[in-house]
Symmetry: C2
């Protein structure tokens, strides 16, 4: 981590001295170069810095996790990235809502049918 003998993954990758107040050090340990390389490839160093500085310290871990997820999604799907995942999930939600409406309609119809039979007797 910042200031210790081993520079963090970002400082290692960018070949610079890892200062004790390095903003990346707590989230990008030196043994996981890939994690920083991915967000660096998609967002670039100065943008990650800006994004992290814009977030309270206690939420930076979550911000880094979301940036890594987002960058991975963009590498897997260069055209749609995370938006491709959102689009698929939105379709899934719509389909499930439709299925649920159909099944609820079916229950209502069965219950009405049952009520009719109990009131008028089965044929």
């Amino acid at each position: 981590m910042g200031g210790t003998s081993s520079p963090c993954a970002s400082c290692k990758l960018l070949r610079r001295r890892c200062s004790p107040d390095c903003i990346f050090a707590p989230y990008f340990p030196s043994n996981d170069l890939c994690k920083f390389a991915i967000v660096h490839k998609v967002f670039g160093c100065s943008n990650i810095t800006k994004i992290l500085k814009n977030v309270p310290v206690e939420q930076r871990g979550d911000a880094v996790r979301s940036l890594v997820y987002e960058a991975n999604a963009r590498i897997i799907n260069p055209v749609y990235g995370c938006v491709g995942i959102i689009s698929k999930l939105e379709t899934q939600v719509s389909e499930l809502q439709m299925q649920l409406a159909v099944v609820e309609e079916e229950i209502l119809s069965i219950k009405m049918q049952q009520e009719f039979i109990f009131t008028n007797g089965s044929t």
Copy 2:
């Protein structure tokens, strides 16, 4: 667009000459500075260029739309961005799947009950 008298939104914002082969010109018209400003704020110019160059020309329009969506999500939610939307949708999908399972179970139970009544006669 690129090469015409009016520079595209990105060249206007970055105060540079809009060349006829400007990669941004087809997707960032000069009358919508905000669209480029948003993606520029989150991804930075060189990263947008890299992402667009990595995508076939016929899919760059879609790539720009997804980048604008993603950048907007990061501005609205600086900690989770698009991943916050994905997380909410995943929860919604799980809840709907559970509701559907419950309702399908209910239908099965009603149908079995009905079958029993038709076989053994109503009481």
